[in-house]
């Protein structure tokens, strides 16, 4: 479906200027998504970006494509429905760590089990940004926030590990301070046939004073630079998933080829549902009726 020509980057920019705080990590993610779309030569009409609610979830409003800025935590489900309705769309889900790993975690895990061909980009700032700074499911232990003034006591969610045990077939982590690298990861995810997760360290410069740009800059290293690492080796991926501390890996953690949900669904064999005739054959109707006698 890709067009042949590469479109200018502005093609993918929405009419509205992003209104994130100056310096917010989400700018980098938006830019990376634009570059990825450009690289893949995706026509804007075929991109469908779904988000939940949160600062990060405002992204679709700043990107030029179709999309839904849906409910907090429900983007994955809305996206799944849209994908099944029209599986020729490139469906990308964008949102925050609260949105996806908190209230929306159940849908996230079940979507991975299904291996739907979706790309999920999480702007993981380890905080609830839009609601002005409460702990999120990825907030580290001890971090003091508005809702945890004595320091957070819960173990943070490990999205990469969760994805590994739940059946995601493309698992990556990026950093919005590394826009080109991130763009490649996103492009890889969109190009990947099956469920792809791109977890992104996307610092909240207003409410997260712990996990800042410099904090990440000091720590992140690229998995591609670890020559011994093979993202098709599940065990190795697991080890990397739990690396956290002075060295934090970004890059592609895992990739495998599995049949997608869309491919196994018989009703999609004839093409996108949205293009199927609404009316069934008269003969079929008669058969259905016959069952009632």
């Amino acid at each position: 479906m890709a067009t042949v020509v590469e479109l200018p980057l502005e093609t993918y920019q929405g009419v509205v200027e992003p209104d994130w705080c100056p310096g917010c990590g989400d700018f980098g993610v938006l830019r990376a998504l634009e570059i990825a779309a450009q690289k893949l030569r995706l026509p804007t009409k075929d991109i469908f970006v779904v988000s939940g609610i949160g600062c990060s979830s405002n992204l679709p409003g700043f990107f030029h494509s179709y999309g839904v800025h849906s409910l907090h935590g429900r983007a994955m489900a809305v996206a799944s429905g849209a994908k099944l309705a029209n599986h020729e769309l490139h469906v990308v889900i964008t949102g925050g760590d609260g949105d996806g790993y908190g209230i929306g975690l159940n849908h996230f895990i079940h979507a991975m089990r299904r291996n739907l061909d979706l790309t999920y980009i999480v702007m993981n700032n380890q905080i609830y940004g839009l609601t002005t700074g409460q702990a999120s499911p990825t907030t580290t232990k001890g971090h003091k926030t508005k809702s945890t003034p004595r320091g957070n006591v819960e173990l943070p969610i490990n999205p990469v590990a969760l994805a590994l045990v739940s059946g995601a077939t493309y698992i990556a982590r990026g950093f919005s301070g590394e826009a080109k690298h991130l763009a490649d990861l996103i492009a890889g995810g969109i190009a990947h046939k099956g469920f792809s997760l791109v977890d992104v360290f996307s610092p909240c410069v207003t409410y997260n004073i712990v996990n800042t740009y410099p904090w990440f800059k000091q720590r992140v290293y690229k998995l591609e630079d670890d020559k011994g690492f093979d993202p098709t080796d599940t065990e190795a991926s697991f080890k990397k998933a739990f690396e956290w501390g002075d060295k934090i890996p970004i890059g592609l953690f895992y990739k495998s080829e599995e049949v997608t949900y869309e491919e196994t669904e018989p009703a999609l064999k004839k093409g996108p549902l949205v293009r199927q005739p609404l009316t069934i054959e008269k003969k079929l109707f008669d058969d259905l009726m016959a069952e009632f006698y």
Binding site: P60, G61, R74, A82, A85, L89, L288
Partner: protein, 664 residues
């Protein structure tokens, strides 16, 4: 009125009586008789008490009625609970290898008809326990003067996939029962039936929601299993591939409705179904559909609440929930199907309204209409249903300027493009937005932009109201009483009115199908002329009566309410109407019959079913602060008295259990 006959079949879950009921009903229906059945089952997989009623009639039966002419008892419990209900001239048919039917339990003119199943089936090789039903069915065919061959045909179709040997064995067993009855009993029906031989579909409301959806072009159905909506999912799952429908069982109802909305937004006709508890989880997303103006159809099949409640029982208790679903004001349509075939048409219309007005359409059904099977007329369903998709824009030439998904049109409907259309990209947002879909909630909530888009959205409801049919009054204009119902009670109220008419009480009836938007003007005009308005509902608080007052200001004179899980039967309504007309107050005391039922409950939970209630007697003046029913309990096997229960007449409290040893 034509002839009719009602068969009751009682047993435990797992006894297979639903299958037998089905065979009976189909056999009868193939003869051209009408059937209306009701299965009163429990939330248990094996055991418990299942009670199926099959009403057979020459004329359309609008409910399962309140007669019982033949009882097929599959266990002792059934005999005890239901034998008494069999009317004079009727009989209790049972497997005499297993238990007996004491004549003391029968009304005058009712006979027990024992069938020695083992003896009959012995010559037929290994027979599964469940086949006792077939023997009894064979006997029934004779007793009710049906046609043996009709049932053979049904068995052939039912077991067709299992091969001729299975069919033959079943037919032989059936024959065994038939022959035995012919030899030992006389038919219960006096005259022969008039078999019209018109073949009619024997269907449930849920099957018609599914079929209606398919015929309306539904391509996506999502659900999470929940009684009594699950059979929509089952039908869809087993027919989805053929019909080109993606059927998605999800992780929860949150996913269910959000997926359906996603699919609807992306351009396919999408539906999902659930019951009250699942719908509670869907409410937030219903508001989203209203806000982003996505078409979606949601079927809410009510069951007994509150909370998990009585999940296999019927109720109309979710009107407040469906009307109040989600925060804020937004357009939504609520339709309650009036009877089985109407489930088909409501669904077709729901899809049209959803797309024409770009909003969520909520079908509020209930266990009764969703699950009870009945025969309908073949042309009650049609192939060529109307499909209206509303203003769909399929092309957006670049000269058109920026596409405004939420254009402030004077009708409130903004022409819709589907994702994938060149040049009309937009993002739909649950945040308030302007005509283009750009948020106004973040940088500056422009109050006038907000005001006008809110008005635009809500304006659509005026169009919907014009598009849907106003209710009409059924029955004589000068009736003494107007019965008002909504949804599935239409048929039973109609039959109650016939009973009342026979007793000289003239009634008419207003049955409401469209709850929102509501035909306030038309309904007010109709009801203003009523002499006495009685609202009939299957819930505790009279949710619709309150709804009616909210919409019209009209206060009904009285309400007939039922909230014990069982559906109305005509006589219940007619008796209540007579009571109200006579000016008698409603009596909430525990009746003698109820006390006996309560005793059964106590026995089951505390005395391990080894006992049964016998004498019930009211005693006033005691230490419980209310009169009590004293229920004598005897041992099932010996008949020996094992104790007495005291049940409060006012409160229903189980005040005391005194084992016989303790004396009184």
């Amino acid at each position: 009125m034509g002839r009719e006959f009602t068969v009751g079949i009682g047993g435990a879950a797992g006894d297979g009586l639903d299958k037998s009921g089905d065979t009976l009903a189909k056999s009868v229906s193939r003869l051209g008789l009408h059937v209306c059945a009701y299965n009163s089952y429990q939330s248990i997989i094996r055991g418990g008490h299942i009670w199926l009623r099959v009403r057979i009639a020459e004329e359309k039966a609008y409910s399962h009625g309140d007669h019982l002419n033949l009882l097929i008892a599959l266990n002792q419990d059934t005999v005890e609970r239901h034998a008494r209900e069999v009317e004079s001239g009727g009989a209790v048919l049972y497997n005499s290898d297993r238990f007996t039917c004491e004549t003391s339990l029968l009304r005058d003119g009712v006979v027990g008809l024992p069938v020695p199943v083992n003896e009959i089936t012995k010559p037929l090789g290994r027979v599964l326990p469940i086949m006792q039903n077939t023997v009894l069915l064979g006997a029934l065919i004779y007793l009710v003067r049906l046609e043996f061959d009709s049932t053979v045909g049904v068995l052939a179709d039912t077991f067709g996939h299992k091969g001729q040997a299975v069919i033959d064995q079943n037919v032989k067993i059936l024959r065994g029962g038939f022959d035995y009855a012919k030899e030992h009993f006389v038919p219960l029906m006096k005259d022969a039936w008039k078999f019209s031989r018109i073949r009619r579909p024997f269907v449930t409301g849920n099957e018609l929601f599914a079929l209606g959806a398919v015929m309306a072009g539904c391509k996506f159905y999502s659900a999470y299993p929940m009684t009594p909506a699950s059979s929509i999912l089952h039908w869809m799952a087993s027919h989805g591939e053929k019909c080109g429908v993606v059927v998605k069982q999800c992780e929860d109802e949150l996913a269910v409705v959000n997926m359906a909305i996603g699919a609807g937004h992306a351009g396919v006709r999408a539906m999902c179904g659930t019951s009250g508890g699942g719908f509670a989880l869907m409410t937030e997303a219903i508001g989203m559909a209203g806000m982003i103006e996505a078409p979606v159809v949601v079927v809410e099949v009510q069951r007994g609440g509150p909370s998990t409640g009585i999940p296999t029982k019927t109720e109309q208790g979710d009107l407040n929930q469906v009307f109040g679903a989600s925060q804020g004001d937004f357009p939504r349509v609520i339709i309650a199907p009036l009877e089985t075939y109407d489930c088909f048409w409501c669904t077709v219309e729901a899809f049209n309204l959803a797309e024409k007005y770009q909003l969520p359409v909520l079908i509020i059904s209930d266990l009764l209409v969703s699950e009870h099977p009945e025969t309908i007329e073949p042309d009650d369903l049609r192939y060529d249903v109307p499909i209206e998709r509303g203003e769909l824009v399929t092309e957006w030439p670049s000269g058109n300027g920026r596409y405004k998904r939420y254009a402030n049109t004077s009708s409130g409907v903004s022409p819709r493009v589907l994702p994938g259309t060149e040049g009309a990209e937009y993002v739909a947002a649950t945040d308030e937005h302007d005509e283009e879909g750009i948020l106004i909630s973040d940088v500056f909530t422009s109050p006038p932009v907000r005001r006008k888009i809110m008005e635009k959205r809500m304006k659509k409801m005026e169009l919907v109201l014009k598009d849907i049919k106003a209710p009409v009054l059924e029955g004589p204009a000068d009736a003494a009483v107007t019965l008002v119902g909504w949804g599935s009670t239409g048929g039973v109220i109609r039959e109650a009115r016939q009973l009342l008419a026979a007793e000289g009480i003239k009634t008419n009836q207003l049955q409401i199908k469209y709850l929102n938007p509501f035909h306030s003007k038309e309904v007010t005009e109709i009801l203003r002329k009523s002499k006495k308005i009685i609202c009939v509902e299957v819930n505790y608080s009279g949710q619709f009566a309150r709804f009616l007052r909210a919409e019209t200001g009209i206060t009904v004179h009285d309400k007939i309410l039922k909230y014990d899980g069982e559906p109305f039967e005509p006589r219940i309504i007619s008796e209540e109407v007579k009571r109200i007309v006579a000016g008698k107050p409603r009596d909430l005391d525990v009746s003698m019959e109820e006390a006996r039922e309560m005793a059964y409950h106590y026995i089951r939970t505390h005395l391990a079913d080894a006992a049964r209630p016998t004498r019930v007697e009211m005693v006033k003046g005691n230490s419980h602060g209310e009169p009590v029913w004293v229920v004598e309990i005897v041992k099932r096997d010996t008949g020996e008295k094992s104790g007495e229960l005291e049940i409060g007449v006012k409160t229903g409290a189980l005040h005391a259990w005194q084992p016989v040893a303790a004396g009184r």
